[in-house]
């Protein structure tokens, strides 16, 4: 799972650059913003966003797990196995939740 923490971290770095571009597009005016939104709304864009959101939640939850380890807590194998499963389950749950909320808001707009 630590390789996944690294992998999601690298993916999120790429996502951060895309976030920067999105903000720059928003500052650039309605046309550039519309172009950015169009790209993000394409099937490839949505797939990317889905991947990024899972990577985000995974890295966030596993990061918190790491912070507990830094404090010296939860090292024993039983606890770390359990927390690892919790991270995976939590990441999936948060991804589903976030997308359900997002699609609901999208429908309302």
């Amino acid at each position: 799972m630590s390789i996944a923490h690294r992998g999601t971290g690298v993916a999120l770095s790429a996502g951060a650059v895309l976030l920067a571009l999105w903000l720059i597009a928003a500052a650039g005016g309605p046309e550039t913003f519309a172009a950015a939104q169009w790209l993000l709304g394409s099937w490839l864009g949505l797939l990317m966003l889905l991947g990024f959101s899972f990577a985000l939640f995974y890295h966030l939850l596993n990061g918190i797990r790491h912070l507990f380890w830094d404090a010296g807590l939860g090292f024993d194998l039983k606890t770390s196995d359990a927390s690892g499963l919790a991270v995976l389950g939590g990441s999936a749950a948060l991804t589903v939740l976030a997308w359900a909320a997002g699609l609901t808001v999208l429908g309302a707009h």
């Binding site: 690298v10 650059v17 920067a20 928003a26 500052a27 912070l67």
Partner: protein, 127 residues
């Protein structure tokens, strides 16, 4: 936190541990900051999903949003570039290439966060 290294060793990040304790702290502090910041960002982004330009812009322009975005960009890019540095140090064994990549990553992080911060300020301050 000078430790026992030579000055050149400190600058080049030499030694088997490679990363110094400052790096470790910065990574943890930015990580802590990013917990509330990313949660805020995700909920905010969901709120403007599919919204028109004016609405999205207005959200960014709100003082709380703008400040949070600036902090997210600063902490996020710093955290990311520290992490990428660790990955590069672990997997790139050629010293010249390793140093070049690390410098490139740091430069890109600074460039991206500066450009994005400028965009946020433009929107928040009204142009």
């Amino acid at each position: 936190m000078a430790g026992t290294r030579s000055a050149l060793g400190r600058v080049r990040g030499l030694g088997s541990a490679k990363e110094g304790v400052q790096h470790w702290w910065a990574q943890r502090l930015t990580a802590l900051a990013l917990i509330p910041l990313t949660l805020w960002f995700v909920t905010g982004l969901i709120g403007v999903a599919g919204a028109d330009y004016a609405t999205a812009r207005a959200w960014i322009a709100q003082p709380v949003s703008a400040v949070a975005l600036l902090l997210l960009l600063a902490a996020g890019f710093h955290h990311g570039q520290l992490g990428l540095q660790v990955v590069i140090e672990d997997y790139v064994h050629h010293e010249g290439l390793r140093l070049t990549l690390i410098v490139l990553v740091k430069a890109l992080a600074v460039l991206a966060s500066a450009a994005a911060a400028f965009a946020v300020l433009r929107i928040a301050l009204g142009s």
